[in-house]
């Protein structure tokens, strides 16, 4: 990509982001429907559209609020008032929000809808995510708790320890990710944690899963996020001459054999029958997005990545191609990924400042890209932002990356 506009001319397959909205993250003690409805109203207001203008609503499901959560699209449509829109509900673990965006985009590009509302919201439990109840020995998510007591942070800790062994990363390096993200989150009114954190505070927090400490690991939160997407034709007809555009939505599966131990698995695939592909599953998610968008890491103004742990943010630097394998700490220490740096990562404050609200999180990442690309991100604005990527990964082989441009 060259020239002063990373976004460049309109590319076939783009959809416009007309509106973005969130219900602030926190522990509010209310139901997910309320958060989702508030986010949806905010996104519609941002778009200057009425709910009755929406042709289709796509909900990202939550599995933590019973049946209404499994049919989130209809649940949000009912809360907003039935108006006859096409309805879709999707679940894809942490990538649910991105798959919802992907479904909305497909409907727009297929000509099935002009305006689609995408909503995700969660009311999260306190503490470790636990599996669904009952005796279910055929469910790997149940088994990893039953046999190993392997909570999510245990997996993040395995990856962190591996970085330390392979690349010489240290706990002090990981703490610097927290310091960076807390500084950005302090500037974000939608973040749950809005206070600067020092490396000393990270080091003084309790070890949860060696080598990771409490402040290395993201919390679970309540929150809601929504987007109003439309066809480029609809956007232009509405007078939005230069809207933020979604140019790629990657939701690829891993390829066999997957050789990195992943949630909720007890073992990797075996590499004896088939040689593993080069690069990690995470890097393949980003690569597919770059290919679809026709741009690369060098074109990015910013990135929002899934920092379930501080160390995992460093993995993402390498996986989305900001630096080579093992070079993430160098990039971090240079300040390249901080606000004011060459390519800020998690200018929103990231999961570190939000805590994870599973089905809302990947949508919230795109909300941040939208505000950054519009130049309306306030104190955390990345100057002249023209292209951004989101990246996330979840249980059961899910992951996503969204590229947005302006």
């Amino acid at each position: 990509m060259s020239g002063d506009r990373a976004g460049g001319a309109e590319v076939r397959g783009e959809v416009a982001v007309l509106g973005a909205g969130m219900h602030p993250w926190g522990k509010w003690g209310r139901g997910f429907v309320e958060y989702g409805r508030a986010a949806a109203r905010a996104a519609l207001a941002d778009a200057g559209l009425e709910w009755t203008d929406v042709d289709s609503v796509v909900g990202a499901d939550t599995v933590r609020s019973g049946y209404p959560g499994y049919v989130a699209g209809a649940t949000f449509a009912r809360a907003l008032g039935w108006q006859g829109a096409r309805v879709t509900s999707v679940y894809a673990a942490c990538a649910s929000g991105a798959q919802a965006i992907g479904a909305a985009r497909a409907q727009i590009l297929a000509g099935l809808a002009d305006v689609v509302l995408v909503v995700g919201a969660d009311a999260a439990p306190k503490g470790f995510f636990a599996p669904a109840g009952g005796e279910r020995p055929d469910d790997p998510d149940w088994l990893r708790f039953r046999i190993l007591g392997a909570v999510n942070p245990a997996y993040f800790a395995l990856y962190a320890r591996r970085r330390m062994a392979l690349y010489g990363d240290s706990g002090e390096d990981f703490a610097q990710v927290k310091v960076k993200n807390a500084a950005a989150g302090a500037l974000n009114p939608n973040a749950r944690y809005r206070k600067a954190v020092t490396a000393e505070e990270v080091a003084a927090s309790a070890v949860v899963a060696d080598p990771l400490r409490l402040l290395d690991i993201c919390a679970t939160s309540d929150g809601g996020a929504a987007l109003v997407l439309s066809s480029m034709e609809f956007a232009r007809a509405r007078g939005a001459a230069d809207p933020v555009r979604i140019r790629a939505v990657s939701t690829v599966t891993p390829t066999y054999p997957r050789t990195v131990l992943d949630l909720p698995d007890i073992a990797t695939d075996s590499a004896v029958a088939v040689a593993p592909a080069a690069g990690s599953f995470r890097s393949s998610i980003a690569r597919a997005a770059y290919e679809e968008a026709g741009l690369g890491p060098g074109d990015l103004s910013l990135a929002e990545v899934y920092d379930l742990s501080t160390a995992l943010e460093l993995d993402w630097y390498e996986d989305i191609g900001l630096c080579g394998e093992g070079e993430a700490v160098k990039l971090l220490r240079e300040g390249a990924t901080a606000l004011g740096g060459r390519v800020p990562v998690n200018p929103s404050g990231g999961l570190s400042s939000f805590g994870e609200a599973v089905p809302a999180q990947a949508i919230a990442q795109v909300c941040e890209l939208t505000w950054q690309l519009r130049g309306t991100a306030g104190a955390r604005q990345v100057p002249g932002a023209r292209a951004g990527i989101t990246a996330n990964q979840g249980l059961f082989g899910h992951g996503s990356a969204v590229v947005a441009v302006r």
Partner: protein
């Protein structure tokens, strides 16, 4: 009353293989040689498998090298079984790379193995152990410990 000794999952390990040792049990596809652990008995998951093979039980390598490791400093939620009346005793988790199978298997460390005893690349072996006991049953599992014991 004597407790019954029961594997926490049936068919994932044997306490005494042909040579009398504890071994994890996987399955191997006769058509493409892919190995699966936990055992896959219904279908081969290799997309390039020519098909038509059988999945036969196969013991996994008794030794491997540490891919990574961690511990659990807080009590995990159910279905992990622990007595809330007893102070939490952290356990160690070890991810072990089995060279012959080309895979990484996760397991708890044997009693007494802490993160301080481990390093990435260290040789470890699989051993039988007790996950927990209740009134009627001793629940058995697999564990890893450094070859030659803990320093």
């Amino acid at each position: 009353m004597e407790r019954t000794r029961t594997p926490v999952v049936q068919g994932w390990f044997t306490e005494a293989d042909a040579e009398g040792g504890f071994r994890l049990l996987g399955t191997r596809c006769s058509a493409c040689t892919a190995v699966f652990f936990p055992r896959e008995d219904a279908h081969c998951r290799n997309p390039h498998c020519p098909g038509g093979g059988e999945l036969a039980e196969v013991p996994l390598s008794p030794r491997g090298r540490v891919w990574s490791y961690t511990d659990g400093r807080y009590r995990p939620p159910a279905p992990y079984v622990s007595d809330p009346a007893v102070p939490w005793d952290p356990y160690t988790l070890v991810a072990v790379e089995l060279e012959a199978e080309g895979m990484v298997v996760l397991g708890q460390g044997a009693p007494g193995v802490t993160v301080a005893d481990l390093a990435v690349g260290m040789e470890v072996e699989v051993v039988g152990g007790v996950l927990h006991e209740d009134a009627t049953t001793t629940w058995l599992t697999w564990q890893f410990k450094p070859v030659g014991g803990v320093a």
